[in-house]
């Protein structure tokens, strides 16, 4: 087993990408993820990679577009406002079926917001922040170790389905330090072949990569191809964690950092004689609707907790329908809810439904 | 005696006239007929053999519709 190292989340995310065979990073400084950009500026040259600090996030996403066209594994990392600037480029990459990994270390918003951890970008991430019919695969880590695994998974999914993939972390995951293990370095010659890349029309017809066609019927064909890919992803790539489900008094739906806080809340609740189940989506898109729907038939309440005004809540409601009540508790502006305040909410919900 | 001649792809030509404007020997004119796009294409017309195969027409053509040929000099006394 590889030995454990104490490492900052931002740097772990960068090292994970390198272990996944990524050798190209284009980025722009933005709190709370700048350490990731700094790390890549030091680390990539050590492994023969290319680091470039661009002039804006708009340029960054287009550099990713270009590098991805050449068939290499490429990534960037940014935070909410920077990620918003990348939306047009991401829509182009989705339409051109170009793989790449975007790490979004979410911070308080909207607008300039602040630099605290938050989850206010869920809808942008999972419903498509740019124009046109497309979705990103969105992965929501709750610990640094899981973030490492999900970054590596992100590169594999991006290549397999030829799509941009977003790792939706937050300022907490980026800034905290934890002991973690890194998997072995993947050798570059095991990376998937990309015959579609623009490596030069040598011994083949020219490759053309574009999201463009003026003929609506051809563009519809392209869209039907993207849709078929989305269906495959929905069928094969849903991931979640469920814990303490059997006989739970209440089921909590939470992801990322709040999903982690819930582990403490569940223990504290047990001491107060309340059995709290946890449903933690890991793929935020494709959202695990079916499983949550099944679980919601066995409980009275599916309680959604987020660091936002209620965004994953919408997907929870889609899954739960009227099988159970779907109350919500959230903190906005980058405020991180404490286990105690969440537990108080749970107590009142559970007591509320008991003495009816 | 003409030093060469040109062939004009009538379908590619859009009748812009830049070749005629550039031709020093004025041996290109608009054809009376139409191509399928409805343009009067350019037409090589060199009854007196003035074409010097300079290629100015080729250089100015925005649609690369012209191919320029140059007669090979046959050695006078061979």
């Amino acid at each position: 087993m590889a030995e454990k190292v104490l490492v900052k989340g931002n740097e772990a995310l960068g090292e994970a990408a390198i272990r996944a065979g990524c050798r190209y990073y284009f980025g722009y400084p933005i709190t709370p993820q700048s350490e990731l950009t700094e790390y890549m500026s030091r680390r990539l040259p050590e492994v023969g990679g290319v680091f470039l600090q661009a002039e804006s996030e708009v340029s960054v996403v287009n550099m990713l577009y270009g590098a991805s066209c050449m068939g290499v594994r490429v990534m960037t990392s940014t935070s909410s406002p920077g990620f918003s600037l990348m939306q047009e480029g991401i829509s182009y990459m989705a339409g051109a079926e170009l793989p790449a990994v975007f790490i979004n270390v979410v911070r308080g918003g909207p607008g300039l917001g602040d630099i605290q951890p938050a989850q206010g970008d869920y809808l942008q991430a999972t419903k498509g922040g740019g124009h046109g019919d497309y979705r990103l695969i969105v992965l929501g880590p709750s610990t640094i170790q899981e973030a490492i695994e999900l970054v590596m998974l992100a590169f594999d999914l991006a290549d397999e389905y030829r799509t941009p993939v977003e790792v939706l972390a937050d300022g907490m995951i980026g800034q905290m330090m934890e002991p973690v293990e890194f998997p072995e370095m993947r050798s570059l010659d095991t990376l998937p072949e990309k015959p579609w890349a623009l490596t030069g029309a040598k011994g083949r017809k020219p490759n053309k990569i574009t999201s463009f066609d003026l003929d609506p019927y051809k563009l519809e064909e392209m869209n039907l191809r993207y849709e078929a890919t989305r269906k495959r992803i929905i069928a094969n790539e849903q991931r979640w964690e469920e814990e303490n489900i059997e006989g739970a008094d209440i089921l909590v739906a939470a992801y990322g950092t709040v999903g982690r806080i819930m582990k403490t809340v569940m223990e504290m609740a047990r001491e107060r004689g309340i059995k709290v189940g946890l449903f933690r989506p890991i793929t935020l898109w494709p959202f695990p609707y079916k499983r949550l729907e099944e679980l919601s038939k066995g409980v009275d309440t599916v309680f959604t907790v987020e660091m936002s005004g209620g965004q994953m809540l919408e997907d929870v409601k889609l899954a739960v329908k009227d099988n159970a009540k779907t109350p919500f508790y959230g903190r906005m502006g980058g405020v991180v809810p404490t286990p105690e305040e969440i537990l108080d909410q749970i107590e009142s919900l559970v007591k509320g439904s008991e003495n009816r | 005696m003409a030093l060469g001649y040109i062939e004009i792809d009538e379908e590619r030509c859009k009748g812009c006239g830049l070749c005629m404007n550039a031709c020093p020997k004025k041996v290109i004119r608009f054809s009376k007929s139409f191509n399928s796009k409805g343009y009067h294409p350019a037409e090589f017309y060199d009854p007196e053999g003035n074409c010097i195969a300079c290629g100015f027409c080729y250089m100015m053509c925005p649609d690369t519709a012209i191919t320029v040929y140059r007669y090979e000099k046959v050695a006078a006394n061979k």
Binding site: Y24, F26, V50, L52, A54, E55, V58, S59, N62, M63, L64, Y65, G66, A67, S68, C69, M70, V72, V74, G89, A96, L198, T199, G200, A201, K202, P206, N207, K208, I209, T210, S211, F212 | Y5, K14, G15, C16, G17, L18, N21, A22, A53, C54, G55, F56, Y58, M59, M60, C61, P62, D63, T64, I66, T67, V68, Y69, R70, Y71, E72, V74
Partner: protein, 256 residues
Amino acid sequence: MNAKVVMKRPDSLSKIDFTYCPGCHHGIVHRLIAEVIDELGIREKTVIVAPVGCSVFAYTFFEIDGTVASHGRAPAVATGMKRARPDRIIFTYQGDGDLAAIGTTEIVHAANRGENITVIFINNAVYGMTGGQMAPTTLIGQRTTTTIHGRDPKAAGYPIRICEMLSQLEGPTYIERVAVDTPQHVMKAKKAIKKAFENQINGLGFSLIEVLSTCPTNWGLPPVEAIKWLQENMMKFYPLGVYKDKTREEAKEGIV
């Protein structure tokens, strides 16, 4: 007497008809690029990054790998490509709306990094594809669909001289402005384009060729008169010439 072909359609042009208006200079520049690619023997390792604009279809007009960048971002796309595969020849083909308006940031920083790419910049003083609106390079007093009384600098600022602007930067290696209004200028333009590609092949850094071009349809002039207008107006405000040539400076100092 038999005759041999002396000038024909270059191999690096695809079979697809150009979608440009009659007399549009885009087509001439496309041919020059294709001739240069043929002569340098680089068709099989060259990639075009087309812009959004009339030349958005350019990626299909060349028998090479190609893509379309979002409006103004071609220099960033090309940067990503070149950093990923430095041994490929990457060039962007951009209009004045694309490069000098929305894409100013990308072109300035690609030039400033001395990115080893080739940029072909078509300046026809209007947004062609969208129907003839004012562009950053629209001349003072020039009528467009968004300056119907003529461009007034108090309201819409001044035309931007890209070659002069970019040549202030340390990064670029070669910047020249050319035109394709006459056969003589076409030959000079080809020389400039060829040098711009050779610079990239030799790893000498960023080259940009600005080509003054007509837009008969949106200028409201027949093709031949459009050329006259270009000569009498655009060439005065945008003088042709080499604005930067590090290869010659360095040659003098014996570096190259």
